[in-house]
Amino acid sequence: MPRALSAGGAVAAFMFALILGTLGIVAVHAGGLSALGPWDLRAIWFTIWQAALSATLSALLAVPVARALARRRFAGRGLLITLLGAPFILPVIVAVMGLVSVFGRSGVVNEVLAWAGFPPVSIYGWQGVIIAHVFFNLPLSVRMILHGWQAIPSERFRLATSLGFEPGDIGRHLERPMLREVLPGAWLAVFLVCLTSFAVALALGGGPRATTVELAIYQAFRFDFDMGKAATLALVQVGLCVAALLLASRVSRPAEFGAGLDRDDVIPAPGGWRCHADGAAIVLAAGFLLVPMLSVIAQGAPGIASLPGAVWVATLRSFVMALISAVLAISLSLALAQSVARGQRWTEFAGMLPLVASPLVLGTGLFLLLRNVTSPTQLALPVTVAINAIMALPFALRILIPAARALQRDYGRLADSLGLRGLARLRILTLPRLARPLGFAGGLSAALAMGDLGVITLFADSRNPTLPLKLYQLMNSYRMDDAAACAVLLMTVSFALFWLFDRGGRIRAAL
């Protein structure tokens, strides 16, 4: 028991040192923190505002979709639930291409509007940021809320049916209490993701009105060479997230992801207009989430075969790097989840830290730290792998914590009493029992790692480029068609990685 505790504790301590330490190094290098200007304060305000709005919209829209998916049964339902999760692991650059092709000035939506005689809508500006954030995070919210629905014991529904409850009564007595418990956690998860969103605001923000804190950090670093300001802004970002976490922990416990848990008995499904409403919710959500992806595929797929060889080499390299990142991410998060399951709550906070870390400040701090040790170029690949693993940690952790808690509750004492510990416990108990959530977490981590461009260009290794970097290079040399094909390739490999891990976990769990 003490050994396992120290593994999680060590990871947690390492996370604190890494995230806050690098911030400190940057501040020290800059000779202290610098004051913020009026534009920075506006960026902070916009960041909070858009994250709150995105989180609220995602949560509200997710409720009807999750309810429809929870109580209706139709062919392809399982596949649809899986596909609806896809935007969350879509590389940002690919997602933005898809959204523009659907909601852009010459996109499908505006063509239909023009045909029907309505004025066009613009995706550029704050509304673009919100649309993109809802696109990315609606899947997350749906998944968490769907899990809440499925976690209502079926006995309660049976009781409700036997008491002759109308849909409204079920809503009042069963669904609303569940939502009150689940929604704050779902809201918080999306809020935190949107708080540090960077690329989305850059691409669709439409201008300086939509400047986020992360963008302001980027500007301070790259354009003003003001490291002190970058550090101050990074600190503000950490402060915002800590405040949000504290607030939410007072409201509710964090919601659980649920690795696609399913049940055999059906939740009562009312007929009439509710059936049509559920159908509409599912069709609209599927359209909103899937059409942009289909559009990207339609645009780029024809060009894949003619992509230059270097792109394929980069694909293979990125694939292997994502695999290593994922294994690293689930190892670290497993250690953390186990110590959280044993009651060490502070380690959970350490695991959430990467969500609030500025990748740019993190990378700069690491660069200042490591450049005296060895050449940053030689460290490019290992650092990229490690950073991607750390950035995926909060998501992997959220998936693993409930499973680790259940494992500890059900079998912790038995394992302790048998002296099952260390590697033997890992091999005989933990890995087999947690195979399914580990696979899900690994798939998510791998897909996120695959799509990450890495703002950490300080560690770039031009001789060994990754696939996202190739995509960026193609765009920068006017080769937009190749870039579109490259985007499809990137998306395909990301999904394949996710599928590989998730499937592996399920098969292992079923053994």
Partner: protein, 230 residues
């Protein structure tokens, strides 16, 4: 000899104290109202409940700093005594080597232990494929292989029917008798205590009382126990 030396455990506002000795090889029933601290008393011995004061000693040695798996103790819980993803043989084998790297000789011992509890030919099954009684036998086979001098049973057979429970108690008596195991058995059923345990510890009002002869105690229970027994 198992000795509670002014041992105390505090869980929130609840406190349990025990100060007595149990002879090696004794078979003790632990009875008392729900929530009186019977499981806590066992947890102090097993190592799941840290002591807030005093000591628990076995053969003169303080157990406090020893992790649960290294204590001279085997425990049978009310449920979850088996890992559902491991085979019957693996679940039993954990009693010999927690890392399951068993030598051929150890594998033979596992097979032998399964035969002893009447589960020949079931080595490769999963727990879910066994009946409740069979699952208890698997757990008992593991207890036999571990051969720790103290055995704690926390309502281990509560879910079994009367006939099966009698079978299990007989099996338990045989296994414990072969090795001179000291047994502490939490039970709700006075008949279990009479049938299996010559002595009984009553846990009531935050105090585990020293063991008394089971027969006279149940024939003429003190007031607090009388209210519980009804």
């Amino acid at each position: 000899m198992l000795r509670f030396d002014r041992a105390e455990a505090t869980l929130g506002s609840f406190r349990l104290s025990a100060d007595f000795e149990i002879a090696a090889g004794a078979r003790i029933a632990v009875i008392g109202p729900s929530g009186s601290g019977k499981s806590t008393l066992l947890g102090m011995v097993a190592g799941f409940v840290p002591l807030s004061a005093g000591r628990v000693l076995w053969a003169g040695k303080d157990l406090s700093q020893i992790p649960p798996g290294d204590r001279p103790v085997s425990t049978l819980f009310q449920d979850q005594n088996l890992f559902p993803h491991l085979s019957v043989a693996q679940n039993v084998g954990l009693g010999l080597r927690p890392d399951l790297r068993l030598s051929p000789e150890q594998q033979a011992r596992v097979a032998d232990a399964l035969r002893q509890v009447g589960l020949e030919g079931m080595a490769d099954r999963r727990p879910a494929q066994l009946s409740g009684g069979q699952q208890s036998r698997v757990a008992l086979a593991r207890v036999a292989l571990r051969a720790r001098p103290i055995l704690l049973l926390d309502e281990a057979f509560a879910a079994l029917g009367p006939a099966l429970k009698t079978d299990m108690l007989q099996l338990l008596e045989r296994i414990a008798g072969e090795t001179g195991t000291t047994v502490l058995m939490v039970t709700h059923d006075p008949d279990d205590a009479r049938a299996f345990a010559p002595e009984t510890v009553v846990v009531v009002d935050g105090i585990a009382q020293p063991p008394a002869m089971t027969g006279p105690l149940l024939d003429d229970p003190p007031p607090a126990l009388r209210a519980y027994l009804g």
